[in-house]
Structure formats: structure tokens, C-alpha cells
């Protein structure tokens, strides 16, 4: 039994009997749990290090925090995508088009000393973030990583469709992720998919990193592990 199962109790595995339920008794839709080769590779890469500092860029996840602090990591949580939606970031650019100003965002967010983190969980924020912010945010993350530090990013493929909703990724084990749509309880604006990156775009986005490794999955979600 891994640490996460101990923290949460053993997950039920029995099939629910096909008994009709009244609408008010219907259970919530089952959460999707997906295998994550990228996460497994990331945890392997961190395996031998000491005093590991990890940055989780998603909405605050008690599950992820419990998991990583249980491993002795120092965990930092920052919802940079949520912060990117602040109205005071919107300014006219050189062409007169209103767009989010990366300098304003990075004055308040991701303000870490260089080479702070051994690992960053970037999730799929690049898919939902405004175009003007993506590259500057990746550059800031590159600086915040230690040499040899690793970052896991997820990218939806074109087949995922424009209706793809912004989800939260919670660890469900060392090699699996629970994908949960964000609810209103998260006090966060809704985000829509901004684009679908081609592999070449992804390689270009991470060109400052030493290596870029792709993990393909069946659910239209590509995992990318980059090493500084």
C-alpha cells in the first residue's frame, strides 16, 4: 500500500450494482484516474536527491501536499493560472490590442530566487494561459529550477477538442493522476483551452532546457518531462 492510500484509506474497488437511483441520490460522476508515465519518471529523477523543493502550479491540492510532504519534500503551492486572470494585468500592447502583461504577472507571481526548486508540476497551464504569458512564465520557471531540476507539463492534443475543461490533477499514486474538474468552491475564474500545441511548438517552448521527453497517452493528453 503506498503512502497516498495510507493517507486516504483504501479506495473502494467493488462495482456498484446497477440499481436505479433517484436524481438526488445519484452519485457524482466518477473521477478519472489516469496512468502517468511522466509523474513516475519525475519521482524517479528525484529519488536520490536530498532536501527536495517542489513547486505545484495548480490549484491548492491537499492530496498533493500530503503526498509530497509525507515524502519529506518542501512543497510550494501557487496557482499561477488563476493569478493570470487578474483584470489589472490587462493592458494595451504595442499593436493596441489588450493582452495580459507578463511583467505585471511576474512582478507578483513566481517570485522565487533562481535555482530554488528540484521539481515543478506545471500541469496543463500552458494550454489555458494567455498567449502573451506562456513563454515568459516558462522562462521564469526555467530560472527557478535548479540545474538538473525536472518539470512535468501536460498538453492536450487537438483531438481533445475545444470543449476541454480546466481540471485539477491530484496524485493518486506514484504513477497515476486523478483528474477532477474544478468546482466553484475553488474561488477561481473559468478558463478555456487557448490552443493546441504541436510537438514542435512544445520543443520550441522548452528550448532552454537540456532535454525534452514526451510520453504519449490514450486520453489525448501528452505528458512532457523537461530537465534543466
Amino acid at each position: 500500500m503506498d503512502l497516498l492510500q495510507k493517507l486516504r484509506g483504501v479506495r473502494g474497488t467493488s462495482n456498484t450494482a446497477a440499481m436505479p437511483l433517484s436524481p438526488e441520490l445519484k452519485p457524482a460522476p466518477p473521477l478519472q484516474v489516469r496512468h502517468s508515465s511522466g509523474l513516475l519518471e519525475l519521482t524517479r529523477a528525484l529519488g536520490t536527491r536530498e532536501d527536495i523543493a517542489l513547486l505545484d502550479l495548480g490549484v491548492t491540492s491537499p492530496t498533493n501536499i500530503s503526498y509530497f510532504t509525507g515524502l519529506g519534500y518542501k512543497v510550494y503551492s501557487e496557482d499561477v493560472l488563476g493569478a493570470s486572470a487578474a483584470s489589472d494585468l490587462q493592458v494595451p500592447n504595442e499593436e493596441g490590442v489588450t493582452a495580459a502583461d507578463p511583467d505585471r504577472l511576474l512582478a507578483q507571481s513566481l517570485t522565487y530566487p533562481d535555482a530554488t526548486f528540484d521539481a515543478v508540476l506545471c500541469w496543463d497551464i500552458a494550454d489555458f494561459m494567455e498567449e502573451s504569458l506562456v513563454r515568459p512564465v516558462v522562462q521564469r520557471l526555467w530560472a527557478a529550477l535548479k540545474p538538473g531540476g525536472v518539470m512535468l507539463a501536460l498538453f492536450h492534443s487537438r483531438e481533445a477538442g475545444s470543449e476541454t475543461v480546466c481540471c485539477r490533477y491530484h496524485l493518486a499514486g506514484s504513477d497515476s493522476l486523478e483528474v477532477r474538474p474544478l468546482s466553484t468552491a475553488h474561488k477561481r475564474p473559468s478558463f478555456s483551452l487557448q490552443r493546441s500545441f504541436h510537438n514542435r511548438h512544445i520543443e520550441n517552448l522548452f528550448r532552454d532546457f537540456n532535454s525534452v521527453k514526451f510520453f504519449l497517452a490514450r486520453d489525448h493528453l501528452r505528458e512532457v518531462l523537461v530537465v534543466k
Binding site: 532536501d51 523543493a53 490549484v59 491548492t60 491537499p62 501536499i65 500530503s66 510532504t69 509525507g70 518542501k74 512543497v75 510550494y76 503551492s77 501557487e78 496557482d79 522565487y112 530566487p113 530554488t116 468552491a185 475553488h186 474561488k187
Partner: protein
């Protein structure tokens, strides 16, 4: 949430400065400064707003905090909590829906007095 002997800073009250004491404290108003309750519990209620570094035995947050929270024992962020700062404690509970922008460190219970967390101090510092 608090004991019968807890002191209370009610909604609408604003205090600026340093608070230290030997009883539990419930903050439903606003505190700017420093809070030090070595062996006691600080509770920031849903309408509470604390802009302070806090050291206490137990810290329970249901409101808003801008500052570092150091609990020598239990630190609890309720679902309505909004915390911007580093947090540490020997036992940590974070409810789904809580917002945290900051570092999280689970400390060992050494019996030593808590210090302000500095998650990004250089090794050996």
C-alpha cells in the same frame, strides 16, 4: 472552534501592533503586525483578516492571512481559508477549497520554540 477562555477580536475591530498572550485567540476582525501565542491556539474566523507573521501552538484558519504561519503543533486550513505566506506545523490539515500561495513544511516535533519558516534559505543557513 475556540475554548471558553479564548480572547476575541470581533468583526469591525482593527488592531495594529504585536499581540502576545497566554490564552487562545479568535480573530474575526483585522490584525496587522505580529501574533505570538506560544502555547495556545489562534483561530482566524471566516471574516478574520490577519496581516502578520504568526507563531502559535495551533493555528486554525478559515479567513484570510497574509504572512507566515508557524505552528509548533497543528495547523489547519479550512475550505474558506485564503493564505498567502509560508506555513509549517507538525500536523497539517488542508481542506479542499482552501487557497494557499506559499510554501508548506511539515516539521518534526522537537519541543523547540518555533521560528519563522524560511523555506528558501540556502542549505546550512
Amino acid at each position: 472552534m475556540q475554548t471558553a477562555t479564548a480572547s476575541q477580536i470581533s468583526t469591525g475591530i482593527v488592531i495594529r501592533g504585536e499581540i502576545s498572550g497566554s490564552s487562545d485567540l479568535l480573530v474575526d476582525g483585522q490584525v496587522d503586525g505580529i501574533i505570538h501565542l506560544a502555547d495556545h491556539t489562534l483561530t482566524v474566523g471566516p471574516s478574520g483578516h490577519v496581516k502578520a507573521n504568526v507563531e502559535a501552538r495551533n493555528i486554525i484558519v478559515a479567513g484570510r492571512v497574509e504572512g507566515n504561519l508557524t505552528a509548533s503543533d497543528r495547523l489547519e486550513l479550512r475550505k474558506s481559508a485564503v493564505v498567502m505566506g509560508d506555513v509549517s506545523g507538525t500536523r497539517l490539515t488542508i481542506e479542499e477549497g482552501a487557497f494557499l500561495k506559499g510554501g508548506i513544511q511539515v516539521t518534526r516535533n522537537t519541543g523547540e520554540a518555533p521560528g519563522t519558516p524560511n523555506l528558501f534559505a540556502a542549505p546550512g543557513a
